[in-house]
Symmetry: C2
Subunit: 96 residues, 2 copies
């Protein structure tokens, strides 16, 4: 049976490929993915061009498509930000 | 209700903090985490010093501890490798 961490890694791959065409996300695919999977994050973005800006940031090789490696860098950025909040919260509440 | 991607990000944070002490993993914590969460991967490593080498690779700032950001780079590396296998497999079987 896969571990929790293995399930997470599989989840990243599955979510990406649910929206990807031929192994990459177009701008429209990325928008669909973010609207479905990161809707709370998107709602906090006041800039209506947020997805376009994120697309530009992620597309490291400038081909207009986001591959899995580029997509993962978005997940890393968000996870690291969430984890910093988590640590702050733990310090406040005095847990571990 | 959190999305699948949000659950994955939460899972990464939870797994890390299950083994971390004061927000970082010592070498021993990393070993415990990998033995519990990445046992199939560890079994494939023929080098008995694999965890020590991974620790050295991950510890980008050289403080002898692995913080969340450093830990995530391991998850990214493994996920990207898994995803490449997944793409190859999909091509072989002729699925999307």
């Amino acid at each position: 049976m896969p571990s929790e961490l293995e399930n997470c890694m599989e989840g990243l791959i599955k979510v990406f490929h649910r929206y990807a065409k031929n192994g990459s996300l177009t701008r429209q695919n990325l928008r669909q993915l973010m609207e479905a999977e990161l809707s709370s994050f998107l709602k906090c973005q006041k800039d209506p061009a947020a997805v376009d800006k994120i697309m530009k940031d992620l597309d490291a090789n400038g081909d207009g498509l986001v591959n899995f490696e580029e997509f993962v860098s978005l997940v890393v950025g968000l996870s690291v930000a969430c984890e910093q909040c988590y640590q702050l919260e733990m310090k406040k509440t005095g847990k571990k």
